[in-house]
Structure formats: C-alpha cells, structure tokens
C-alpha cells in the first residue's frame, strides 16, 4: 500500500511537471510549456522592460576608441564614435539589443530553417524557401563581397557588434519570442547580412507576371491582348520629367528569342505584391519658404511589429547622420546628415524571368540547351526538424537558375527561375548606405550609388548647397522589346539577358527646371527613353504627387506633412462621375442616400468618408463582373486583368464590347448593364458592412492590422483606424502602408521630422514597442534631433559607454 501511494503521488508529480515543461498538442492549439515560461528566474518574468534603465558599459577588443551611446526619450540611440568602424560596431550592438528576435527569426525563415524551430509542419514552407534559392543567392553575394577586403571590414565590425550583444546574454536574457518557441539566438555573420539583403530583394524585385501574361495572351490572342494590356499609359507622369534629352548612345541589344506560346499550368500561389511601393520627392529652394530644399520619403511596406525600421543617429568626427536603418545591415537607409538628405522608392523593372524547360530524358536529369543535352546540377538541401529528423530535398539547378517550380505531375509546366538577385555581382553593395551617411554633396551621393546592385531603387537626393536629384539606380538588364514579359523558352541561351544598361545611361536627373523631383513607383522615363523595360508600375500616386508639387509654392514643412497625409484618389475622381452617369434612374431614386454621398464626394479617402467605402465596394464589384472571363478560369490557368487606367479607357471607348458580357447569363450585357448589376451587388455588400461594422465610414470598414512575426495578437496592433488608399499618396491598406514617413528641411542645421507605426523596442512588453502607432495613424510626426554634442539630448533614458578592451 505504501508503495502504491508513493508511486501514485510521485508519478503524478513527474507527469504534471513534464506537462508543464512541454508543448502538449491538445486539440488545435498546443498548450504552452507553462512551467518553463512562467518560471520567475529564467522564464518570461525576466524579460519585462519598463521606462527606467540603468546605464551600461561594454569593453570589447574590436573597438579602437571610446564610444558613447545616449538613448533619448523615445529610446532612439545616439551613437558618438571616433571613427566609422567603431560607429558600425555600435550600430550592430544597439540593433541587436532592441531587435534580436526579429533579426534572428527573419533570416532563419529566409534560409528555410523554420522546421528546425517550429517543427515538421513547416517543411513545405522551408522547401519553398530553398527552391526559391535565397540561401544560394546569399552565398553568391558573400563570395563577391569578399573580393573587397578593405570594404568588407566595415560590414565585419557591424557583425562583431551584433555578436558582442548576443555573447553578453545568458539564457534568462533571451528574447520573449525565443523563449516562447523554444529557440535561441544564433551568432550573426556576413552571410546572415547577405540573407537579409536577399529577402529584401525578394520583397521588392521578384515581382513578375510572366505566367499570367503568357496565359492571357494565349487566351485573348495578340490583337486583343495588346488592346487590353498596353504598356504605356498616356496619362502617366514618369519619374524623369517628359522632354528630358537622352544624350548617350545606347548599347546594342540582341533581339528577343521567338516564343511559341502554350498555356502554363502552375501551382504557385501567385501573389501580386500589391501595395509594396513608396513615394519620395524633393523640392529645391525656389519652391520653399526657407530657400533651402526639402526632401520627403515614405516607403510603403507590409506593416509589422516590431517595425522593419529602426531609428538611429550616428555621429563621428567625419559625419553626423540620422535616419532609419534595417536591423541586419549597416548604414542609414533613409535619412539625412548635416549636408544632404536621401530616400528611396522601389523601381518596378522586371528582373525575374521564368523559362520553360525542355527535358532531354524522362527522368528529368537532362534538359536541352542550344540543341545539346545538358545535365541538371543538384543542390542538396538538408532541412532539419525540431523532431530530430533531416529531410533532404535535391533542388535542380539549370543554367538559368533553380527549378523552383518543378512538379511531379506531368501536366504542370516545369519552370526555371532566372533572377537578377541570384547571381553575385562584383560590387560591394553593402557600402551604399554607409557611404550615403558620409556623403557631403551631389558627387558624394552619386559615388555612393555606384556600388548599389538590387533591388533597384529610385534614390531621391537634396543638399544644403541647393542641389536636388533623383537617380533610378541598380543593376538593370538591357532587354529587347517584349523580353521577359512572357515565359521564355528555356532551350536556347538567347532567352537570357547578358548585357546591362550602363549605369550612366539609367534615367536620372539633377536640378530639373520644374524645381522638384519625385517618384512613386511609376515608369522611370517617357517613351523616348531608348531602352525597353517592363514590370509593375503605379499610375495614380505619381500623378497626384506631381500635380500637387507643380502647384505648390513657398513650401514649409507643414505643407509636406499635409501632402504625405493626402488621400485624394485620382482613380475615384476619374471613375465616379462616369459610373454615376451610367446608373439607371430608378436605382438613383431608390438608393438616393448612397448616390448623394458619391455625388457630393471630394474623392478623399478620409476615415470619416462614407462615399469612399461605397466607391470602393462598387468599383470592385464592377471590375470583377466585367473581367469575369479571366477570373472564372483562375483555378485552371492564372491570368491577368487590365489595369484600372486601361479599364477606364475601355469603358469609354467600347462600352458595348464583349468584355462587358457576363459569361454566366444568356443575355448579352453591355457596360451599363454590368454597372447597374454591380451596383445592386454593392448595395447588398454595403448593408452587410453596415450590420457588421456599425457604419459605412471608411475608417470603420478598412482597419489596419500591424502583425507580429509569430502572428500573436497580444504582440500586434489590431484595428488601427486611419486615412488613405493604395492609390493615394497616403497609401494605406489592410496590412500595409507608409512604413516610415520622413520630411527633412535642409539648412544651416537640417530639421528632420519622422514617424513609423511601431516603436524602437522589439520587446513586446516595452512601452517603446508600439508607442508610435497612434501618432502615425493620426499623421503626427516626431522631431528628429541629431545634435553634435550629446549634452544637447534633453531627455536621456540611459547611457551605454563602450571602450577598447585589451
């Protein structure tokens, strides 16, 4: 009896303890290992972060001289170093101190290693990552960076700074999320910075429409395809002002290989990167009240918590830079120093092509290239799982790149990926944002841009001495007309690109007559630019920006704040009157409230606007019902639908064309019929919205979620209400928006203003984790102070003193 009693109690003790130490899969959600994470001494209770900090010191052999870091009232670090290397060491350290989980987890995800952390359920995710070849791309980048031993030293000191922080941690100090998922931070390396570069390239320059274009062309035939999908929008306002002369001899480009078209069956989830885009502009002294240039930038990205950006101030005897950095890379991406300001938007040129593979044997180990059988090369990916297994995946590589969509089933097309960012280019691309911090004028800016590779960016520039400029910048293939717009033949080497537009021939402009430069992801230059390029370009924001800037005079910072907050929608302005004019009179009478809202609308997507919601719902229904012939075949073949500017032209030009016919009905509809039917559908939807959200106000309907990497609601900002629409300057949508708004007025002392929807800290318990979400949602800014003397930082949270250790 005694034995049984002991065994029962002791067994129960061990069982309970085991249960509290492990994730137990009960039902859908595994219970967290409560004992582990609630353990007061090593668990989450050690991770709390308040607003009081102790001063810290660090001595490290990599440091040459003393570094002082002051954290200001918003926890922005102000680094005072004596030389560039020490400054970059400190940058690595402070970024890791605030954003370690973000840096560690996102690079592990890029590499395809989530199965190691989260278990075998992530195998498919990891396989997809590895077939996309981002680790391969990062390895190639490191190989070419190593060719610059004197420059890579800068990156190396950054890496040492990150590792100095990681090494200072004991397990109880590991980030909250690491503890929750049972992982620990890994040492940083140049390779991991390269992974970060490549994941940025994936977000910004892997967008393509090859498969969708090919299927659409096959479906419509050439004539109709050209009618519905012209590449040039006459109304567009390109980045380089129309009329700019191109004073150079373009290089010879080989003609495009003929492509025989067939439908491409592709299993990929085709995610158009809608919403990834940005605005930047600068005005020169002739347009400002102060007589000095003003530069503005707001990059639109997926909004996440912690934010992708980290605010930082770096001061050395040579330069004094302030702005935002991307934790994982040295330098200031968007910012200013005492003399200049800079900021980027994405270039939409297509630099990712798909090539259809012609197999030479049934086993798919050889493919045809220029009439010869060519062997596939294998890269064996070893995916470790948390459960302790290793899954092997042999990824096939062709001369083009990986067969990232290689299907077992025979009726799917095997496509090889040819992507600019896969291959190493012999340039020290990590230096651009380090050199921009040091640049003093236009020449310094232009020099810094020379090492930049990809993702290509429109670099806006303004200087205290009065210069403003914008360079479309990066490595861009020189393509023959139509090249890369469709899936290419993979069996002839002519399908590739082998020349690049010489950097000095890429569109750029210095001090244009109109007194301002700008970009908003539209086409780089007017039709007379001698090189062909295709891709994804935005048509409305650029027009809005340029219209506004052309009219503005005596500009002060507040005018720029209003312009970044501007939610006027040209698309709505163009469509609404036409849609209303075609609406039947009985509908106008029956739904007079909705119609009146639209008739009296100023076309602003403000949060209190009901018309904005009505337009958005109606337009979406109208669009989907018109292009039903493309949407209905989506499950079979992925296809394109026309851009909205072209849709408007078709609507005006051929309202009785077959495109407006609804396939599912016997009747032959025209534009007016579709418009009326879509209005009825919209009314139903609007009633649903009213029931669900309580009102039709745009802000109540369209709420923004800023999510955490692990999709934990407690670590996210949910239901953020704000103005804007993807087609407006204030380009917000459900999960994305201006990820950083910055305005810099140059002068004797530059005056910076900025805000991002997050906070400096990566620790979700910190008061600095999401403190800036609310000011951001209201269009408010913080003053960005970059004093030369640390004593001028008024409210100081704490000080971190670093020094050399022998």
């Amino acid at each position: 009896m005694k034995y049984i009693k002991f065994l029962l109690v002791f067994g129960f003790t061990v069982f309970t303890a085991y249960f509290l130490d492990h994730k137990i899969p009960i039902g859908e959600k595994p219970t967290p290992p409560l004992g582990k994470i609630l353990n007061p001494f090593l668990g989450l209770w050690q991770n709390g972060e308040g607003s009081e900090f102790d001063d810290q010191t660090l001595n490290h052999p990599s440091l040459k001289e003393d570094v002082t870091i002051i954290y200001d009232a918003r926890k922005v670090p102000h680094i005072y170093a004596q030389n560039l290397e020490d400054a970059l060491f400190a940058q690595g350290y402070v970024e890791a101190a605030d954003r370690l989980f973000q840096m560690d987890f996102s690079t592990k995800a890029t590499e395809g290693r989530l199965s190691e952390i989260l278990g075998k359920k992530m195998i498919d995710f990891d396989k997809e990552r590895r077939r996309f070849g981002l680790a391969y791309a990062a390895e190639n980048a490191v190989k070419s960076w190593n060719k610059f031993p004197d420059k890579i030293a800068s990156l190396q000191t950054y890496v040492e700074g990150v590792n100095a922080y990681i090494s200072s941690l004991s397990p109880k100090d590991h980030p909250i999320e690491h503890k929750l998922i049972g992982d620990k931070p890994e040492q940083w390396s140049i390779y991991r910075s390269a992974l970060f570069f490549k994941s940025m390239a994936e977000v910004l320059c892997s967008n393509e429409k090859d498969v969708r274009n090919t299927n659409t062309l096959k479906f419509l035939g050439e004539e109709e395809f050209d009618y519905l999908f012209p590449e040039i929008n006459a109304k567009e306002s390109p980045i380089i002002p129309k009329g700019t002369k191109w004073e150079f001899d373009p290089i010879q480009i080989k003609p495009n290989a003929e492509t025989e078209l067939s439908y491409i069956k592709d299993l990929r989830d085709q995610r158009p990167n809608e919403g990834v885009g940005s605005n930047n502009w600068a005005v020169d002294g002739s347009k400002t009240a102060s007589g000095y240039p003003i530069l503005c930038n707001d990059p639109h990205l997926n909004l996440t918590l912690p934010s992708i950006w980290y605010e930082i101030h770096i001061h050395t005897p040579e330069f004094n830079a302030y702005g935002v950095s991307l934790p994982g890379m040295p330098g200031v991406m968007i910012g200013f120093n005492d003399n200049i300001a800079w900021g980027e938007t994405n270039v939409g040129h297509d630099v990712l092509d798909w090539l259809e593979i012609e197999w030479a044997n049934e086993e798919k180990t050889k493919y045809m290239l220029d009439g010869k059988e060519t062997n596939i090369e294998y890269r064996v990916e070893k995916i470790k799982t948390k459960e302790g297994n290793t899954v092997l995946d042999s990824v096939k590589y062709t001369v083009w790149g990986p067969l990232s969509h290689h299907h077992v089933k025979n009726d799917y097309t095997d496509l090889a990926m040819h992507w600019l960012s896969h291959s190493g280019t012999d340039l020290p691309e990590f230096m651009t944002f380090v050199e921009l911090m040091q640049a003093k004028n236009y020449d310094g800016y232009a020099k810094a841009l020379e090492s930049y590779v990809s993702p290509a960016q429109n670099f806006a520039f303004a200087a205290k001495d009065g210069d403003i400029a914008i360079h479309v910048n990066g490595i861009l293939p020189a393509k023959a007309k139509g090249h890369g717009r469709f899936v290419q033949k993979g069996n002839i080497s002519e399908s590739g690109w082998d020349t690049f537009i010489p950097r000095e021939q890429i569109p750029k402009v210095l001090n244009p007559e109109r007194g301002f430069i700008s970009s908003a992801n539209q086409r780089s230059a007017d039709v007379d630019y001698p090189y062909y390029y295709t891709g994804g370009f935005e048509d409305y924001r650029g027009r809005s920006v340029n219209q506004n800037l052309a009219e503005m005079e005596n500009i002060v910072v507040d005018d720029m704040k209003k312009l970044q907050w501007n939610s006027h929608n040209i698309k709505a302005q163009e469509f609404t009157p036409i849609m209303l004019s075609m609406l039947s009179s009985d509908r106008k009478e029956k739904y007079s409230t909705e119609v009146n809202e639209l008739e009296s609308w100023d076309f602003f997507f403000k949060q209190e606007s009901k018309a904005a919601t009505i337009f958005e719902i109606w337009y979406t229904q109208f669009y989907k019902m018109t292009w039903d012939e493309m949407y209905s075949r989506w499950s079979e073949y992925k296809m394109m639908t026309p851009e909205s500017w072209r849709f408007l032209e078709v609507l005006l030009d051929q309202p009785n064309s077959k495109y407006f016919d609804i396939e599912d009905t016997d009747k032959r509809e025209n534009a007016q019929d579709v418009l009326n039917l879509s209005f009825d559908k919209a009314i139903d939807k609007l009633n649903e919205i009213k029931d669900k959200k309580g009102s039709l106000k745009w802000g109540d309907y369209r709420k923004i979620n800023i999510g955490h990497h692990l999709e934990v609601p407690a670590f996210s900002a949910i239901d953020v209400v704000t103005d804007g629409h993807p087609s407006t300057i204030n380009a917000t949508n459900w999960g994305f928006g201006p990820s950083w708004r910055m305005i810099v007025e140059l002068g004797e002392q530059p005056k910076g203003h900025g805000v991002f929807p997050g906070g400096q800290a990566g620790n979700p318990s910190s008061p600095y984790y999401k403190n800036s979400v609310e000011p951001w949602s209201k269009g408010e800014y913080y003053t960005l102070n970059a004093p030369h003397d640390p004593k001028d930082i008024k409210e100081q949270l704490f000080e971190l003193k670093m020094g050399h250790e022998k």
């Binding site: 005694k2 034995y3 009693k5 002991f6 109690v9 002791f10 129960f12 003790t13 061990v14 309970t16 303890a17 509290l20 130490d21 409560l34 004992g35 582990k36 609630l38 353990n39 007061p40 001494f41 090593l42 668990g43 989450l44 209770w45 050690q46 991770n47 709390g48 972060e49 308040g50 607003s51 009081e52 934990v712 609601p713 407690a714 670590f715 979700p764 318990s765 910190s766 008061p767």
Partner: protein
C-alpha cells in the same frame, strides 16, 4: 514540531532560490523531495510545506521581477493568455510553483516511509 515545518519551508525556499538561478525550473522537484525526506513530517503537512515554500518563492519573486521592470510583463502575459488581468498571471505562476513544490515534498515524505 511547528518549528520543523517552518524550517522546511525556509530551506526549500533558499535552496530553490539558489539552484533556480542557473538550472531548469524542475530542479525544485528534487529539492523539495529531499528536504521533505529529511524533515520527516506527515505526507499532508509535507505537501503544505512544499506548497507554501514554492508558492511564496514564485509569487513574491514574480511580483518583484514584474515590479522592477515597470510592471509591464503581467499585463502582456494576461493578454497573451487571453484577456486576463495581470494579477491572475502572477497568482497562476505562484500556484504552479506551489503545486509542484507540494507534490514533490509529499513524494519525499512518502518515500521516507519506504526506507
């Protein structure tokens, strides 16, 4: 007799406090087990000895760690586990420590009967 009980509580608290600084949380199992075995009280009062010791240690340390970091962690954990007030997560932490401490001490005292 009473003094032995308090001595056990204090010993368990001190040993757990020391060893938990660098060892996994379940080190409290052998600690409570052995101390209860040595102290040699009835199984029920051993349970309370372990429970009180570890509940107090975990509860008080948690209040301290939470307070010393601006009381930010309790509300965050409350949110994480679903709209709970912060204090509940502190009490739950104490109860987990208490439960395992109590069960381990009880096991120790029952084991003493066997030898």
């Amino acid at each position: 007799m009473k003094n032995k009980f308090y001595l056990g509580v204090i010993l368990m608290m001190i040993c757990s406090l020391i060893f938990q600084q660098f060892l996994a949380w379940w080190i409290i199992i052998p600690i409570c087990f052995i101390i209860a075995l040595i102290i040699n009280k009835k199984s029920t009062s051993s349970f309370f000895m372990g429970f009180i010791a570890l509940f107090l240690l975990w509860f008080i340390s948690t209040i301290y760690f939470n307070w010393s970091t601006g009381s930010t962690m309790a509300p965050l954990l409350g949110n994480l586990f679903g709209e709970l007030p912060g204090i509940v997560t502190i009490i739950v932490t104490g109860l987990i420590g208490g439960l395992i401490g109590g069960l381990s001490a009880m096991s120790g005292s029952l084991f003493r009967r066997l030898i």
